[in-house]
Structure formats: structure tokens, C-alpha cells
Amino acid sequence: MRNLVLGGILVGLVVLAALLSFLWTPFDPVKVDATHRLLGFGASHWFGTDKFGRDLLSQLMVGARTTLYVGVVAVGIAAVIGTPLGILAGMSPRWLGEFVMRVNDLVLAFPALLLAIMFGAVFGADTLTAMVAIGIATIPSFARIARSGTLQVMSTEFVLAARAGGRSKVNIALRHVLPNISGLLIVQASVSFAIAVLAEAALSFLGFGTRPPTPSWGRMLQESQELLTVQPRLALVPGIAIAVAVLGFNLLGDGLRDRLDPRLAARV
């Protein structure tokens, strides 16, 4: 229960910042202001300004949108394709399941960042190609988790009983397998979300993610590096934001799993 609340608060903070940024930010996040460069923490610019005089808090708020966008779309792609694939592999005859999983291994062997850089080179580097690439590279993790969970559920007596009760494969997949592996999937989603956020930050840092001037936490980090020794604040602010988002989603995932499993829910 503590995980759920704390995770909810942290994620809520990020979501709130992103939503609020559509209506209002303290300053224009992309407005260059040469007279207010590299201000420290202060009353008018809370988190200070960067080397172009852009307000850090405003950039952080708009950057939260990118972060959520990337996380949701990448995990969405991975979960929507990977989960049915894994369940299918777990429920079909052994040869078909093995075939699906070997193809899966093939994709798994490809690092997400490399795929994203490749995608960026081919389709042009921006947020969309980055998250599609991260999403595709995350499919195998979901397929694996879903398959191993499915195999476990399929060997239980209640699935045998369900088959003895005349239930179709689709019915068993949706009503018996999916609810019983949802805990695994939620944890996987929260981990993948964190990885996707980090990957977007890394890609933006490398120049293959979100293009300037759109604020992104990863790019804020990248731009901070040349001033790291004199202005560590510039790296700390987006760094802490990334850490908060990642920690929040992990805690939320853990909490949700405990909540959704009727056996564990009795204990929390």
C-alpha cells in the first residue's frame, strides 16, 4: 500500500507538471534571454536558468510531456504486441511456441539504443521514431514474460478444469491466463517505462531523440555537460526529475501488482 501511494504521488507530480505545462509555465521554455543567463536558484526563476537564459522549471514542465509521451507510447507498443504474442506462444503447440520465441530472441539480441539510432538515421531523428524504436525493442521482454507466465498458468488444474468445462482457447486466454499474469505484466510495464524514459534521455543526449528546441529531460542533461563543474545545478535538476519519474513508475507498478492480485491484496 505504501508503494502504491508513494508511486502514485511521484507519478502524479510528473503528470501534473506535464498537464499544467499545456496551460501555464512560469516563463516561455524556449525563449532565449541573454540578460538572465545562468541564474541560480531564486525567487523569480525557481530552478534558475541555463546558458541561454531559458527558465529551467518551464523546460522541466514541458519536458515532462516528452517523458510521459515516450514512456506511454513505447510501453504501449511493447505491451500491445508482446503480450498477445507471448500468450499465443505459451498456448499453441510446442513447435509454434518455440518458433515465435526464437524470432523473439532475434529481436531481443538487438540493443534498443542501437535500433533507435538506426531508426533515427533512416527515418529522421525525433521523439516519435525514438519511442517507436524503443517500443519495438521492448516487445521481446513482454513476450517472454507473458509466455513464461502463460506456460505456468496453462499447467494448472484450473485451466484443465476450464477446458473440461468446455471453454474455448480464446476464453481461457482472456479470462484465465491474462488475469493471472497481469501482475507480471504490470511489473514489466513499470520497469520498461523506466527503461524507456532513460533511453529517451540517452537518445536525446546523443542527439538522436527529441530535437531542439523542444525541451526534453535528456537534452537538458546533454546541454548541461559543458558547464558541469561550474553549474552542476543544470545537470542535477533534470537528473533528479528523471530519477523521480523512474522511481515513481517502479513503485506504482509494484503497488498495483499487490493491489490487483486478490491473494496479495488481502495482505496489503
Partner: protein
Amino acid sequence: MTLSVRGLSVSSLVRDVSFEIGAGERVGLIGESGSGKSLTALAIMGLLPEELRASGSVSLGGRELLEMSEEDLSRLRGDELAMVFQEPMTALNPAMRIGRQVTEPGRIHGRRHRAEDLLTAVGLPGTARAYPHQLSGGQRQRVVLAMALANEPSLLICDEPTTALDVTVQAQILSLIKTSLPADSALLFITHDLAVVASVCERVLVMLDGEIVEAGSTREVLTQPKHEYTRKLLAASDLEARR
């Protein structure tokens, strides 16, 4: 409806098994673990593991089950054919409420049952909102039984339904099976407990190493066993002591 099994073999684990169960008959299938009792049951239901194949003939009311497509079979399963498994702790979906599980066999076969009615019939009123982990083993087995009996099957197969339960709960489940099974339903009751057979079944089949070695009325088999294995089984059980 009559279940007629002719020359049923499953790989080399079950060999040339033949028997018949008429409508309303209660037949026991006894034998030690690994003798092929459960495989025989699964073969009848068409639920054998992927790597095993059944040959011979299994017919229910004149319809051949072994040659039936999976689709046609699943239409019979849970409707005319029902099965109760040994382990009540794992026989229910842990993520689904009891009420929903118990009405599902009906829903699948186009019948509407009220969960409360089905559960009351097995002595569990007011449990529809519960999850399986909130019920005891005996209560879960009642739920499983309610699911199996919901559509009044022509044939009910019970695969050691009381083995995992303690003696008092065992007696309750047995009497529940006896009273709530429709009079014209056939029952195949698998067990290794001779006392249970004596209390439920009119006829009994004795299985050893995949073959039926003795068959006859329960009284006959339990009092004048012909096969040596049956005699050993009787000697090893505490049937006398319990009488």
C-alpha cells in the same frame, strides 16, 4: 446416455481398456497411482497432454468422442461431459470471483444460472463475491462440484475428488455427489480409497499397469476378489477396520 469404452489405449500407458457405464450407473475405477486411471479419464474427456494419443473407441450416447473435433468436443465438455479434479486448491481460477466461475459453464453453453442458486445447492450460500483463496479446501471442492453439475451432465467423471480432503469433509463431499447428481447421470468415480468406492459405487473396475484386471459389482469385488492384485489392495486397505 451410455458411455461405452472399447479397446481404449493411450500410448503404452493404458492398454485395451473396455467398459460401459449406463445412464444412472455409478461406477468406481480403482488402482494404485500410475496405473492409468487418470489417463483413462482424460482420454474420455479428450484432454490428454499434447504428446499422448488415444486409440480405440469412446462413445457417449452413440457419438464417437475420440474422432470428434476439438470444437465439437468443447461443446460437449462442461455440458454433457463434466469432470471434477483431485486438487481443489488449484482447480479454481485465483483471480476470478466464485460467483462468476460457477456460472461460467452455463454461460458458455447458453444457459443462465444464478450463482446464488448453484452455490446454495452445494451448501455455500453467500459466497458468490468471494475469491477462491478465501474458501477452505472442502468449500472449494463444493464450488468445483457446483460447476460440474450446473448443466446436469450425462456423465460426471470424478478424479480422486476427496483425496486431498480430510475425512469429515470427505464424507460431506461424497454425500453431496450422491445426492446432487441427477438420477439418470452416469458417474465414473476414480479413487484408490476402497471405502469411498464401497459407499458410492454399484460397480467397480480394478486397474493395474494400464489394464483393467477385474470388474464386477462392488460387493462382489470387495468381498470375493478374483485377481491377486485386488486381494492385495484389499489386504492393504483398512476397509475392515472402518466397518
